[in-house]
Symmetry: C2
Subunit: 133 residues, 2 copies
DNA sequence: GCAAAATAGTTACCCAGGTAACTATATAGG
DNA sequence: CCTATATAGTTACCTGGGTAACTATTTTGC
């Protein structure tokens, strides 16, 4: 198995998935990274930026920037945390309201992406990815 | 199997791989996308930008930008193609000279990334990725 | 032969990943 | 108590993915 080829294919597929996810999300004025944060906040409730950063494995400056965009378009709002340093990020009413519909659309998207994989293959893929890197 | 979770893990792993590849390439003043093009040109010989774009599955403006950087740092040079429109991109002597060493370093990197996968798992991963998207 | 369509590449501008260096606040230790 | 260190977040800047709209050249087809 050619390593280079394998890594390249991995890259390519992920780019394709992100691209099509962005197309799917376009109707809501959302982008893939923003959706990740939205999902994260629905799953965990209000979080600090450091918590989001750790949960998603994305650096803090990246989170700062994406949150700024989401705040500007009305998806999230910030409140002071238990510190003067900490900021608690929470969903707006608009986000709470639209979430279920978007989740459904994303779910259909993911289903299409994975449509050619059996349940067994999905589990295999998952387990292999866990061992990767 | 939670689809969302699977897609998220896929994303995360690819980001990690790119990050570590960039660290590996830093000593040569190269970046992952530039390495892809370098590898592409060694494999196929001189190519037009459209050919590179098709081969790597990356949009043409992205290729234009990356090539501009690579030209500025002396990895590639452009010559007129069979057209007044076409540009043939080729490696510089410097690139030819350094290629083997970089290839070796990248190969070691990929090996480390894949170290926890058996040969069978690598093939499984490859075949599953082919069915994805 | 000339206008319409296709092709090659570029430019301008999004979003998103990263690092390095910074501010402000909070915590620990001498 | 006061300084040193750690933590939360931001700013500035890099690479790299994308789209839309553009120029310039070449083909196509009437």
């Amino acid at each position: 198995m050619d390593q280079q080829h394998l890594v390249h294919l991995l890259n390519q597929r992920v780019r394709y998935i992100n691209k099509s996810l962005n197309e799917t999300l376009k109707q809501y004025g959302l982008y893939s990274a923003q959706w990740s944060i939205l999902f994260c906040l629905v799953t965990n409730g209000s979080m600090t930026q450091t918590e989001i950063s750790n949960y998603l494995n994305v650096e803090k400056p990246t989170v700062t920037r994406t949150l700024k965009r989401m705040e500007a378009s009305g998806w999230v709002e910030k409140a002071q945390g238990k510190d003067k340093r900490e900021l608690l990020v929470g969903l707006t009413d608009m986000a709470e309201m639209k979430y279920e519909e978007i989740k459904e659309v994303v779910s259909i998207h993911d289903q299409e992406i994975l449509t050619n994989l059996t349940e067994g293959e999905r589990e295999t893929l998952y387990n292999i990815l866990l061992k990767l890197g």
